[in-house]
């Protein structure tokens, strides 16, 4: 930990900057029309800058330990604390959220309708997500988790397109359903530990010392895991994702697919697997089977979608399936692949939704058969879409490739025949993914211009290019040289892998 940051509560600052800015913005006069976006940009830039400082100050040799901890007693009788910290995984997720939030604000730069309320909700959401990734007390974790999920209802219901009320309601109810499971699971952990605790490191020690019996783990692992996995779009709880993403405005889709789905996967890893490792071992084949359905079903389903956002949403179902499959392997390779895939998928979908927003803003349609030949008038958008698409189909040189490679290898080297079969079946998705990704490129961007009015369209402006280039650059850097990021992930996973490996199989 660097001396320059000694005593400065950097983690609180990171999540509170957007969160407090959002609250302050609520009280701004309604006549302000351009200021909200400036406030939002400033707040997200502060978080981004602090995250960069955090990346420099982080001690990479101790990636598995909690760093930059902040602890304040909150409700002493219930063991509720305000406890923040980062390990390597949290760090990576915070960095992802900082990048996506900043890009999302820029992607919403042209938003005019009720912009104040929009940016208020966006900032609350973004702040909440930062909080979840750094919270190490389950009470705080759950509270921030709900803060991150709830604004979604309004953001989609008010600023969305298409059947937005239905989509918003479906998304909220399904995620709340997941939360109900979570609450039950968290209570079980609290009452199952002696002395009762909500502190994640304490619970980890309790798990390691065998406080959670095998029957307890068998019962409560699926409850916690499913609660989180709904948000990671585990089949068959995935249908909120296509409708939700399609109806949501650009920045919300970016944040939602980019980071909120990762919140689900992060919870699965940190809470469900991290605190109930034996339960994880018992249920791993079932999780792997469902994840395989995600991977294959999503990639085949994407091929016949005609709305650009639905294609991307189904691709998310498929790619999040890779994350879940990696988690289910419960080994170093698969877990590091899963964490890297969380990061890579977040960046990639961020770019996808930003570009779809740009396209929709100009053509006023996302209907694939009505689009065509846009590369001629929007070469930047087309080129960026090609790169994002290549990331989607796992092309080497972009960050998704090492992630998927590790997940597949993880499934193979797990040791069990069942996982090997699942691995083979999952690899088949490289063919299906190529089909749907290239179909979109061919139909929307290549070929002759389908509508004369498209000839008038302008390519992306400078402000619109910034978030896209920013996110793509990270993808390329990590893709070309994944070594440092994997070092970080590997180090951070070491304690968990040890806990998982030290168990009787």
């Amino acid at each position: 930990m660097s001396a320059a940051l000694a005593g400065f509560p950097i983690l609180s600052a990171i999540w509170l900057a957007p969160f407090l800015a959002g609250i302050a913005l609520m009280f701004a006069p309604a006549s302000w029309t351009r200021a909200p976006r400036m406030v939002a940009l400033a707040a997200s830039a502060v978080s981004l800058a602090l995250t960069v400082a955090l990346l420099f100050a982080f001690d990479y040799r101790a990636a598995g330990a909690l760093q930059f901890q902040e602890r304040w007693t909150w409700i002493a009788d219930l063991g509720v604390e305000y406890r923040l910290g980062v390990d390597g995984i949290s760090l990576l997720m915070v960095a992802l959220n900082a990048a996506i939030l900043f890009s999302g604000v820029l992607a919403s730069w042209g938003l005019r309708e009720r912009s104040k309320e929009f940016f208020v909700l966006l900032l609350l959401l973004g702040g909440g997500v930062f909080g979840v990734f750094t919270a190490f007390n389950l009470y705080l974790f759950f509270a921030l988790y709900e803060i991150a999920v709830l604004p979604m209802y309004l953001l989609i219901g008010v600023w969305g397109t298409g059947p937005k009320e239905y989509s918003a309601m479906k998304l909220t109810l399904m995620l709340m359903g997941g939360s109900a499971f979570l609450l039950l699971g968290i209570l079980a952990l609290y009452f199952g530990s002696t002395p009762h605790s909500l502190d994640i490191p304490t619970l980890q020690r309790a798990a390691a010392s065998g406080q959670f019996g095998i029957a307890f783990q068998r019962l409560w692992f699926p409850v916690l895991f499913l609660g989180f996995a709904v948000l990671a779009a585990l089949w068959p709880f995935h249908t909120w994702s296509p409708d939700g993403h399609a109806s949501a405005p650009t920045a919300v889709s970016m944040l939602h697919a980019g980071v909120l789905m990762k919140l689900g996967a992060y919870g699965c890893l940190r809470v469900a697997i991290g605190l109930l490792p034996q339960g994880a071992h018992l249920w791993a084949p079932a999780v792997a089977a469902l994840a395989l359905v995600n991977v294959v079903y999503g990639s085949i389903g994407a091929a016949s979608q005609t709305d650009l956002k639905y294609v991307t949403a189904y691709s998310s179902v498929s790619h999040m399936g890779m994350v879940l499959l990696g988690l289910a392997t419960l080994g170093t390779l698969g877990l590091s692949g899963a964490v890297l895939q969380m990061f890579a998928h977040g960046l990639m979908t961020g770019v996808f939704f930003a570009l779809i927003g740009l396209t929709y803003g100009r053509t006023h349609t996302r209907h694939l058969p009505s689009l065509g030949g846009l590369a001629r008038v929007m070469p930047f958008v087309a080129a960026a879409y090609v790169v994002a698409g290549m990331a989607g189909l796992g092309l080497p040189g972009l960050s998704s490739f090492p992630a998927e490679l590790l997940v597949f290898l993880g499934a193979f080297l797990h040791g069990g025949l069942f996982f090997r079969v699942v691995g083979v079946a999952a690899v088949s998705s490289i063919v299906f993914t190529a089909l749907y990704v290239l179909r979109v490129l061919q139909k929307a961007f290549y070929g002759p211009i389908t509508e004369p009015k498209y000839l008038e369209l302008k390519d992306a402006t400078f402000v619109e290019r910034v978030p896209v280039v920013f996110l793509l650059s990270i993808m390329v850097v990590v893709g070309l040289w994944p070594f440092p990021v994997l070092r970080l992930i590997d180090g951070a996973l070491a304690p968990l892998v040890q806990a998982l490996g030290g168990l009787p199989r």
């Binding site: 199952g192 030949g373 001629r376 490679l405 690899v427 290549y446 070929g447 590997d490």
Partner: protein, 687 residues
């Protein structure tokens, strides 16, 4: 002599050119081509320097650094490295790739001069050269896969270079997807080797494959792993049944067809099999005869594609089917083993020159006539003498007429087939010799001899007004023409050294002993099969006896030797094909229409490429997309239907529950008591 890190400059120079063009010269019509040309020119010089070093000391040398590493699942952790492996095979390919790439860059200065997308073209060309060189230098399977995918991307981008053209986009997509089918197998093969042998390094795999009976699981014979790897080659080198993408790839600019789809990238499959030959060879010990499958796939592709080439009217398509056929030839040779491995790579080497020449010559013709249709050409040799003469040289080379380059490599392949006692395939290969000479001279006579076609017939400006291409285009033709004359002499023995002294596969002396010992250990400890850690422990265990030192096998010479019983019939078959083409297309003693009519439905079947793609298309539309639409329906109606029903039920339930709100306090108290009891009971059960 350790390997100099300067070897990394060979791929990195084109990459630097690509990066500079991407960042600064995206609109530069003069700068971008020159930067790209200079970069690949320097790579060529460095490659020649590396190759000279290898000629002096051919031992393999490796430089690598971890690209990705995690601390599991084995005690030593798991890492994937990137780097360079320099041995005769990679040095050969380095020279071929940089040389052809340099010539194609030069040629494109003229060919693409008028094209509005010229900077983008050179951008992609630079990226391709980098990727192909990275592939060639791979020290392990993973790096090969990485660059394998990247050359696929470049191929995709360049096939679809004319973005406004729907056919080009369709062809680009098809190329990528079909290749992915092969890559599915390739990837699984790599993973299987990694999972069971614990290594994917080319330096370590040959010593490990002999242990497969112990290290591999009982249900996965080594031959199956070899065939999975071969899947990648079937895709990339467009072997039947994944050949359908290559003819359509001709939608790309012609220099690209020469570089990527004739000389270099499509040969990557052959390179892969040669590189991984120890896996194929060791499979002979087991139950699946992988090399025989390889040989048959190659042999079938070579004759299958050659028949189609006889019936096409598009000059580039004829050449594309010819490429398929020639690649099939190389694959067939590899499947024969022994001398065949040398012969296959030797044919890769000579073919790179004469096929690139054929494509660049065709490009020169298309540049002049503005049409791809052979029926719009004719009499071009007089109007375009350099193109005409060099093209004729290439035709003689591919027809294996001595002493042109193709003669030596093709003869060596026939020799290898005979040595391997593959009589049926020997007959197939001889038949292909005849067909090759026929279709290539059909093309030659239609385009270059006879009378020019009138301007209106099949589009284009009319062959009568064609002009020779500029010097940037003819210079590469001359260089390749020279190489098509002399490259074959590399097979001859020069002071005891020949092509075959460097490029050869020799079975590791310990293979048979290793295989026997592994089989014995596996039957004694069946539990250890397929478990790397256990297998490792057993292999190094105390009972490990000194493996019986096998007497080194007498090393057969791999130099080209003239065997008249092979050469004379093969040459006569080539001349017969040439003569038939002369009779039909030049003299018209037997008009082509009559010939086609005589074959009737067979001719239609062949001209329509045996309807293979139509069958795939049908399956894709009627099976795959129906399945995909089924998923959309399932989500919309079953999954969502369930969720909606749940929502409806809870609403209805809420409406029903409202009636419970009677306002009678006694009823509430009763309900509270019941609830409390229920809660306590459930806590008792759960905790």
């Amino acid at each position: 002599m350790p390997l100099s890190p300067a070897v990394f400059l060979i791929p990195l120079l084109p990459f630097a050119g690509f990066a500079a063009n991407f960042l600064f010269l995206r609109r530069s019509r003069r700068g971008a081509p020159l930067v790209a040309l200079a970069a690949v020119g320097l790579s060529l010089v460095l490659s020649l320097w590396i190759a000279a070093g290898v000629l002096a000391s051919p031992a393999a040398r490796t430089l690598q650094t971890p690209w990705l590493a995690v601390s599991g699942p084995l005690p030593g952790g798991f890492a994937i490295s990137v780097g360079a492996l320099v041995d005769p095979l990679s040095a050969l390919l380095l020279v071929v790739v940089t040389l052809v790439s340099f010539l194609v860059h030069l040629y494109s200065l003229g060919y693409m001069r008028e094209d509005p997308g010229l900077p983008r073209f050179f951008l992609y060309l630079g990226l391709f050269t980098f990727s192909m060189l990275g592939l060639v230098l791979s020290p392990n399977f993973f790096q090969m896969y990485i660059f394998w995918e990247l050359v696929g991307l470049c191929s995709y981008l360049l096939i679809g270079f004319y973005v406004d053209k729907p056919e080009a986009n369709q062809a680009a997509k098809k190329a990528f997807v079909v290749n992915r089918v092969g890559d599915f197998g390739f990837f699984l093969g790599i993973v299987a080797l990694t999972a069971y042998l614990g290594t994917a390094d080319f330096a370590h795999v040959p010593a490990m494959v002999g242990r497969w009976p112990l290290y591999g699981p009982a249900w996965l014979p080594l031959g199956a792993v070899a065939l999975l790897l071969f899947g990648g080659a079937v895709g990339k080198s467009a072997q039947f049944p994944l050949h359908v993408w290559l003819p359509d790839a001709m939608e790309g600019p012609t220099p690209v067809s020469a570089l990527i789809h004739a000389a270099t990238m499509v040969a990557a499959g052959v390179f892969l099999v040669a590189r991984a030959y120890s896996v194929f060879d060791a499979a002979l010990m087991g139950s699946v005869d992988a090399p025989l499958v390889v040989a048959w796939i190659g042999g079938f592709t070579s004759i299958f594609a050659a028949t189609i080439a006889c019936t096409q009217h598009d000059i580039k398509r004829v050449l594309a089917y010819s490429t398929l056929s020639q690649l099939g030839y190389m694959v067939l040779a590899l499947g024969a083993g022994g001398l065949g491995v040398t012969a296959g790579v030797f044919h890769l080497f000579t073919h790179a020159f004469f096929k690139a020449l054929l494509f660049l010559g065709a490009g020169s013709v298309i540049h002049a006539v503005h049409s791809n249709d052979l029926r719009a050409m004719g009499g071009l040799r007089r109007r375009m003498p350099v193109t005409g003469i060099t093209f004729l040289v290439a035709c003689l080379a591919i027809s294996a007429i001595p002493p042109f380059a193709g003669f030596f490599s093709k003869d060596m392949i026939l020799d290898a087939l005979r040595q391997a006692h593959l009589t049926a395939l020997y007959t197939v290969a001889a038949g292909v010799s005849f067909l090759t000479a026929f279709y290539i001279f059909r093309l030659y006579f239609l385009a270059f001899e006879g009378e020019p076609a009138p301007a209106d017939g099949h589009g284009g400006h009319g062959a009568a007004h064609a002009h020779e291409s500029p010097g940037t285009m003819t210079a590469p033709l001359l260089v390749l023409g020279l190489l098509s004359c002399v490259a074959g002499f590399a097979g001859l023995s020069w002071g005891g050294k020949s092509f075959g002294s460097y490029i050869r596969f020799d079975r590791p002396a310990s293979l048979a002993a290793d295989w026997t010992r592994a089989t014995a250990l596996a039957s004694a400890h069946p539990d250890a099969r397929g478990h790397l850690a256990l297998a490792d422990a057993l292999w190094a265990g105390p009972e490990s006896a000194e493996p019986a030192a096998a007497p080194p096998a007498p090393e057969p010479s791999r130099a080209f030797t003239l065997d008249l019983s092979v050469s004379i019939p093969a040459t006569l078959l080539g001349l017969a094909g040439l003569f038939l083409a002369y009779a039909v297309y030049r003299r018209r003693w037997l008009p082509a229409e009559r010939l086609a009519a005589a074959f009737g439905p067979v001719h239609t079947l062949v001209q329509r490429k045996y309807y293979v793609y139509e069958a795939y298309r049908w399956a894709l539309d009627h099976l795959y997309y129906v399945l995909s639409a089924g998923i959309a329906w399932f989500d919309r109606h079953v999954v969502d239907g369930f969720m909606n029903a749940l929502a409806w039920a809870s609403q209805a339930g809420g409406a029903g529950a409202r009636r419970l709100q009677t306002g009678r306090v006694q009823a509430y108290a009763l309900a509270m008591l019941a609830g409390l009891l229920l809660l306590l009971a459930s806590l008792k059960v759960l905790l």
